[in-house]
Symmetry: C2
Subunit: 266 residues, 2 copies
């Protein structure tokens, strides 16, 4: 394949915008189609069978938009469906697990590594398996944090006492584990990065989108032009608030001109 | 129409089981088909167009099961889609608004009435309009509580400090309104009834499912046999935890033998 002309990026909703934001920060000349499945968000509390069916429809929509490669900007899909998607489709598809695990192992001194994510992500143990493939001596702890996505999507600020109490509840499960690095295994979680960091100041929190965007040039033959990135935004349900939050927190993406798609048809 | 042979009941997820529980408590000889759209829950943060499309599919599935009448055990669908559903389908369809408003007006001395619900329910103002139709002098206050459904579905106990803090946050918006009655406009909320009551001990909280079940005999020609109710359960995604919670809190329904349906096909 020659230079990548068009890249597809998708997420269960709009958390994947944190990934897109990192990609746009570190690259130029990209032509990106972003799809957020806002009519069926969240994926993380559903069964693997349902998540896979939804992800296949998401990929088929992106194919209809002429993308040549796909980046899964969703922790739940990356951890539960990557083998199935790679089997069903012939174009290159990349998830966030590998980059996230590599970054965590680079960051960790003790090789005691935590993972936070949705229920489906933690149940898959995909981050943990990959870490041990890369470093058999590493020890891992997974903690599911099912309330983080609803908190973020419903506009609770990172320093809201309810957010703080929820962060405290989930992170306290790492007590005694002695982790020095925690992978934010869901692409929504960077919205909570400061709060997480305040609760565990000595721990490095890994933003999987950032990790992925660093190495994107190794995965794909990216354009070498300096023209600004061009992004088309599609969602399966119209904006009901979260897009405003995304615009407030993200600096490298616009999230304007959002078009609606009936994803059931794909 | 003669005696109702088969009643369909549906909800965005499993909150509607609180309604089914009340119906089964006060009636006998019923043959009920329950459908919970667990593959697409929650509805309350989506647009009216998407909610209506989902609700139409839910009704078509119940029709395929031979139901003769339908009860919408979902605040969001009742408040946003009842006219559209009544127009699209010829069988009798009943929502929770009317019974909820009648019960609130019976309960309220001051006719200062609050409504709590999902974002879509509160935006619709459907409860508030119906209350003023029934009692033009009544005053109403609507407060959206988008975190309640995720808290309940993710197993946060009613007395969990995070639940308590969230209840306090939302109910504090009624400060100064002087309401003596609040309609729980979402069928999930009875799971939080005790916590809500503790935070506002002088207020009557209306369970719309209970209100509806009292008057069901007036709406439908129900069977007069004393045989136990028979319920078939269907969901669009398999149980991922909430069903256990439902079984723990509900006394009149079993929620066993749950079958899975691909709702996209309807």
């Amino acid at each position: 394949m020659g230079t990548l002309k068009r890249l597809g990026v998708f997420d269960s909703g709009l958390g994947g915008l944190t990934v897109l934001n990192e990609i746009c920060k570190y690259n130029t000349g990209l032509d990106v189609v972003y799809f957020g499945d806002t009519a069926r968000v969240p994926y993380g509390s559903r069964t693997v069978e349902t998540i896979t069916r939804y992800a296949e429809q998401d990929v088929r929509f992106l194919l209809s938009q002429g993308v040549e490669a796909i980046l899964i900007a969703c922790g739940t899909v990356s951890t539960n469906c990557l083998p199935a998607l790679t089997k069903s489709f012939s174009l290159p598809i990349v998830g966030v697990i590998d980059a996230g695990c590599q970054a965590a192992l680079r960051s960790s001194r003790t090789k005691r590594i935590g993972v936070i994510g949705t229920r489906a992500t933690i149940n898959s143990r995909a981050y943990e398996h990959r870490i041990r493939e890369l470093c058999p001596d590493a020890q891992t702890w997974g903690v599911e944090c099912p309330l983080f996505v609803p908190l973020i999507e419903n506009g609770f600020a990172p320093d809201d006492p309810i957010t703080e109490l929820t962060v405290d509840r989930y992170l306290s499960q790492f007590k005694g584990a002695g982790v020095d690095t925690i992978i934010m295994g869901c692409t929504h979680y960077p919205f909570l990065a400061k709060t997480l960091q305040n609760h565990m100041p000595d721990v490095s929190f890994i933003n999987v989108g950032k990790a992925l965007s660093y190495g994107l040039k190794e995965q794909f033959d990216l354009p070498r032009t300096q023209t600004p990135n061009r992004v088309s935004y599609f969602v399966s349900d119209e904006d009901t608030g979260f897009l405003d939050i995304a615009r407030r927190y993200l600096d490298a993406v616009q999230a304007d001109n959002v078009q609606k798609v009936n994803i059931d048809q794909f």
